[in-house]
Every structure is written in C-alpha cells, then in structure tokens.
C-alpha cells in the first residue's frame, strides 16, 4: 500500500523509544551480576511479573498477526487466539511451580537439576536458541511492517531499527529493564486496544466504511466464443485475458491506464468487477492498479456488501453492543479480497479480487484452515497439529520459562501466571473485535494484513493511529527483548557451562558473554526479519510453538512426572523433538514456496510438524530412558 508518514505518530514513537532507552540505562547499574542480568535478581513483584508476562507474550503475532488474519480470514484467525491462551493452562497447572522449584535462571537448570549432566545444558541451550530465533523472525517482520507507515522507511530499515534498539536494551541492562519495558508495553497495549474496540462499537457497522472509501466499479460486457468483445461503458478497450486461481480476468485499457477486471457470470450477463493489482513489469517498474506509486491509485479495502439487522437490510447500524456486533456480521455479507499471482506478457501480476462472503461463513472455521469445503485428511491433520503446537508450545517457550525465575517464589510464579492469563485472555477477546472491525472498515492493506490493527486505528483519527502504532512498536520491542535475554542466557549460562565445565568462568565474564550473545542473536534476527518480509507473523510464530512444543515440552513434563526419566533420555528427547520439527518445517509446503519450488512436491505436506514431532520426542525419551536405567 502507499503510506504517508504521520508527524504525531513519529513523536509518540520517539517518546516510546526514548523511554525504553532511558529505562535500560537506569537499570544497567543493577545488572552487573548473573542474577541481576539474567533473572532480575528474582525480585520482581508478581503483579508486575504477571503484566510483564502478558507484555512479553502479546507479541507482534498476537497484535498484528491475529488481528490481520481475522481481518482477511475471519474466525480462523481467532483460533490462534484460543490456542495461544489455552497453552497458558498447561503453564499454570503443570509447569509453573515445579519449574520454579527446580530452576535457577533458565529452563536448562530445571532439566539438569536432578542429573548434573553437561549434555543436557548444551542441547537445552541449543534448543532455546533455535526456538528464540524462530520466534524472533515474526517479531522483526512485524517491526518492518510497522515502521513503513509510521515513519515512511522501507521494511528493512524498520527491522534494523528495532534490532538495534533491542540489542542496546539487552546488552546494557538485561532482565530487569526488559521486565519493566514489557510491563509498560503490556499495560498500554491492553488499555489502547480497549479504546480501539470501544471506538469500533461506537461507530457500529455500515455498508460505506468511510466517505473516502473507494467505490469499486462494475462494468457489463459482451462475449463471443468465450472472448470479451465489447464493454457497456465508452473508452474501454480489451487488451488481454487470462485465467488464474480458477478465475477469469480481462485486462482493459482506459485513458492510457491498463487494469485487470474479474469476469463473472450474472443474470444480467457478463459482469466485470474492479480488482487491485501490483504489477512488476518486464522493464523493472512497479505499477499499482496500472499506475506508478505517485498516482496513489492503490486503496485500502474491506467492506460489507449487505448489512442485515433483525432480518432487515439497512445501510448503517449506529452504535452497537459487543454481542450484537458479532451477530450482525454473521447475518450480513462481507466482501473479502482474495489474492492470486500470474504472469502475463513478461509482467508478474499480484491481483486481489472481490469475494462476497456470507457472514455465517466468516464467523466459523474454514476460510483459512481447510477443515470443511475442499478439505483433505492431510489438511485436517495440519490444523490439529497447529492447535496441538499452540496448546503445548506456550509452556515450553524460552522467554516464558525464564520469567518464572524473576519472581521470589513458586507462589509468585503461580499468581503472576494467573494474572497473565486474565490479561492475555481479555486482550484476545479484543482481537476478535479489532480483526472484524478491520475486515469491514475499509482499512486492509492487501499486500500485508499485518498492518490491519494500526490502519483500523487510523480510521478513528491520527491520534489513535499514532498511539496504537507506537504501542505496537513497543510490543515488538518488549517481546524481542525477552527472547534475546533468553537466548543470551542459553549461551552464557547453559552452553558455556557445558562446553567449558573444567574452566572457571567468573560471574562478570558470564555477563559479558551474555551481552555478546545478545548482540549476535540480534544481528541474526535482523537478517531473518528482512528475508521473511510479507509473511503473516502469526503463521510464522506457529513454527516457533511447534519447535518449542516438540523440543522442550516432552522433556519438561517427563522430568516432572516420570521417575524413570534419565539424563540421556532428556538429551534424546530434546534432540529428536527439535530436529524432527525443524526438519519438517524446512521441507514444508510453505518453505518450498520460499525456495521458489512447487509446494505440491512437499514430501510430508504438513506446515505444522507438532503432531509428528511431539510424539517422536516422547518416544525418544521413553526408549532411551528405559535403555539407560541405572542397574
């Protein structure tokens, strides 16, 4: 989409950045020891820790990714919310307190508490690094997506900018600064998301999202022998026709501009409806709806084609209650924009056409996840696999696990987890309204649904847009900081302890190694954030959950509840879980697309590996433990 930077947004964004950097400098003095740097000295009050948990967990995936996915695929996006939240139940009821009792700074401490076996620390450290890096990718992609409309910079500048700030936070101050950044960000995110939802409900629903919303034209055409030969409006000339994604499109020239139209049969004959296109021409230009970027002819989209209230068709509802809002969308009809890609005479065309969809279809599963029409056993397994990963992955995420060590006691770990569940659950209910609000308020950027929530805020004024964008940016900062602390802890505390167990490493040296690790992981995250531009951030986070659920969860749960678990069993479990999840992801259909290959050629055909890799990890632990019992 074409964005104009906002001065107010830039000012608020700058305030957030300065505050965060100020906090880091302030707390830098308190983090010279390992305890201070990696676990904030274990002194964080449970109330602060609970909201920091929420601030840590409600990442770009939750705010940008879920809202964006609901905006384009309806209820299916909300399934991520439910999966992410349900995972906290595992954390609270099974993991939180036992892990706190066993551990010190990292989850490798807990795994190794009974054994003192160096290989456990090494493999757990590697697993933490892998999961963290996979979790960092979507955060950086989200950062890039945010900075473009906020400051007018290209995607990669946003990624480098966020990476730079976070590296500064973590390398200077460690866990205490990270905790307070997450606490502030978590509070702001929930408060301003609530303000946004109140604005959405106060505006209500309308078939005209705004006065400036583009009115999509419809033409009538005549065809002979299946080819368009004439248009009912003067000035249009047929340039070409093509088929893509099971639909027919015609290219028309009018006033020197060539644009693509969707061909549809109707009772009144052939109808041509306007589409959106981004064309990379064979001479290196990029055209938006057939024109250069400066013409500003590329529009935000998403509207209702029929609005039904109590069985009657209306144009607008006025202010509306939260339940009535959902019920009304369900009884009405919304227009979604479906993307397809094709080549035409040397040009590469990305096209989005209108798809009127019954509200009852967008308010139930099936538009993104193939569980209903067009589903296959494999597509259903893929969905179940994702939900399994989300359910078991949360409690195994390194940046969640380390937060159990920042509070004084298991009781505090429990209380902060419950507060986190309440805050996160409330926020996820809000995502339903933000996502559907974006779907029907003409704010979706078809090129990247990640910006749906901030752009929805823009529909309610520049101030709310500026605040929401700044908060979203803080969201990325908070989560990335947590992940980088977890990664640096894994290297400095776990891997170093394993690799150099005979050498004495001083506390100060350990902190220095942690800081160098933070910088290194930050740089890797920046590079990957640039490579994965444009992918939905929630989808990418699903991978991190799959790896965490496969590598870490079986080891934690068996250590806590199966007395025959051995050190070698744990090593085998983490290794098998991590490598099998990673392997399936690397050969998944989505990755084949990234490699420029046909996704139909994928060996396994699953995008979500958890349903295979979690059982494999349990099996490895079970077999190896039985084989290595002490006689």
């Amino acid at each position: 989409m074409i964005y104009t930077p906002s001065i107010l947004a830039t000012i608020l964004f700058s305030i957030i950045v300065v505050t965060v950097l100020g906090l880091s400098i302030y707390f830098a003095r308190q983090s010279s020891s390992s305890k201070g740097y990696f676990a904030a000295g274990g002194t964080i009050p449970w109330g602060v820790n609970g909201i920091a948990f929420a601030g840590d967990y409600l990442s770009a995936a939750s705010f940008l990714g879920i809202c964006g996915m609901i905006a384009v695929a309806g209820y299916d996006g909300f399934l991520y919310s439910i999966g992410y939240l349900a995972g906290w139940i595992v954390a609270l009821f099974v993991i939180a307190e036992p892990l706190k009792r066993l551990g010190k700074f990292t989850f490798a401490d807990a795994l190794d508490a009974r054994f003192n076996y160096p290989a456990i620390r090494l493999i757990a450290g590697i697993s933490t690094l892998v999961v963290s890096i996979f979790y960092l990718i979507p955060q950086m992609v989200g950062a890039g997506a945010l900075v473009t409309p906020l400051l007018g910079f290209p995607h990669w500048v946003g990624v480098v900018f966020v990476g730079g700030i976070v590296i500064f936070i973590v390398a200077t101050a460690g866990m205490k600064a990270t905790t307070y950044v997450q606490f502030i960000k978590g509070t702001l995110l929930i408060v301003f998301s609530l303000v946004l939802v109140i604005s959405i409900l106060n505006k209500g629903l309308s078939t005209t999202p705004s006065d400036s919303y583009h009115e999509f034209a419809v033409l009538t055409a005549e065809a002979v022998d299946g080819r368009i030969v004439s248009i009912d409006q003067p000035g249009y000339t047929v340039v070409g026709e093509t088929e893509a994604g099971g639909r027919q499109f015609v290219k028309l020239e009018n006033g020197g501009v060539e644009r693509w139209w969707l061909i549809q049969d109707s009772s009144e004959g052939l109808q041509l409806t306007e589409t959106l296109t981004v064309t990379a021409t064979d001479d290196g230009r990029t055209l938006y709806n057939g024109q250069p970027k400066e013409a500003e002819a590329f529009y935000p989209v998403g509207h209702m084609s029929k609005l039904i209230v109590n069985g009657e068709e209306v144009d607008a509802t006025g202010p509306i209650g939260p339940f009535k809002y959902i019920e009304t969308i369900e009884e009405s009809e919304v227009v979604r924009f479906i993307g397809t890609i094709f080549a035409f005479e040397g040009d590469s065309v990305s096209l989005w056409y209108q798809e009127p969809t019954a509200g009852s279809e967008v308010m139930r599963p099936g538009l993104k996840f193939k569980v209903d029409e067009g589903s296959t056993p494999l597509s259903k397994i893929n969905f179940v696999s994702l939900m399994v990963a989300l359910f078991f992955g949360t409690s195994a995420l390194p940046h969640v696990l380390i937060r159990y060590y920042t509070v004084p006691s298991p009781k505090d770990a429990r209380k902060s987890t419950i507060l986190a569940i309440a805050a996160i659950g409330f926020f996820y209910i809000l995502t339903m309204y933000i996502g559907f609000g974006a779907m029907v308020n003409g704010v979706i950027d078809v090129q990247s649904d990640n910006m749906s929530a901030p752009l929805l805020a823009k529909a309610f004024g520049v101030f709310l847009f500026a605040v929401i964008s700044a908060v979203a940016f803080a969201t990325v900062l908070g989560t990335v900081s947590g992940l980088i602390v977890a990664s640096s802890g894994a290297v400095a505390h776990d891997m170093m302890k394993s690799l150099f167990r005979r050498r004495k490493i001083s506390d100060e040296t350990r902190v220095i190694i942690g800081k160098v690790s933070a910088v290194t992981v930050g740089v890797i995250a920046i590079l990957l954030g640039i490579v994965f531009k444009g992918m939905n951030v929630s989808f990418l986070v699903g991978w991190a959950f799959s790896i965490a659920a496969s590598a870490n969860f079986p080891a934690i749960i068996m250590l806590l509840f199966w007395k025959k678990t051995t050190a070698k069993g744990i090593v085998a479990s983490v290794l098998v879980g991590m490598t099998s999840a990673l392997g399936i992801i690397l050969i998944s259909p989505s990755m084949l697309v990234k490699y420029g290959m046909d996704p139909a050629n994928a060996l396994i055909g699953l995008d979500n590996p958890a349903i295979i890799s979690i059982p494999l990890s349990f099996l490895a632990l079970f077999i190896v433990s039985l084989m290595t019992q002490k006689k």
Binding site: L79, S81, I89, E97, M363, V384, T417, A422, I429
Partner: protein, 107 residues
Amino acid sequence: MEHGPAVEYEEHQDISDYKTKIGIRFFAIYSIVFAGFVLINTFAPQLMKVKVILGLNLAVTYGFGLILAAIIMGLAYNAACTKKEREYEQKAKNPAGSGNAPEGGRK
C-alpha cells in the same frame, strides 16, 4: 563460578504434592474441553454455525467460553493452593495443638 537460585525459598513437600495433584486434575478437565473444541472445528465445522446464546454461534460462544474458563479455573486453582498454603503457615506458627504439623520444609 557456581551459583544458586536467584532467590532462596522453602515449601513443604505436602503442599507441593497437593498443588501438583489438583493442577493435573484442572489440566485434565480443561484439556478435554479444549480437545472437544478442536475436534468440532476439525470434523464438524458446520456445527459451529448453530446459534447458542445472545445471538452468538457455537464457534464464538465456545471460543469465548474457553478464554473465560481459563481465567475462572486459574482463580479457582489459586484459591485452592492459597488455602492449603495458609493452613500450613498456621500450623507452622502454632505447632502445639496440631496433630500433624509440617516437618522439615524442603528447599
């Protein structure tokens, strides 16, 4: 340099066992409800269209219900754990007159 936990704390083994026991029970209940949700979504997605309450369909009601259930069960779990912890704190303060005062807190 070797180091211990970030903060030292004590907890009696009986309390830990009690919390683990009820934690697993709560987890089992929630897992069944969550599994039901996933199974309906996967194998009977049309069922999710059915109107249930306040004009909301099963998909939205079940989804919101899972979120609310997580919060309510979390609070119930905390209440149960806190009650048990207080009982032991009381016993620890007043060992006389208590037939089964806790012995030897665990670090």
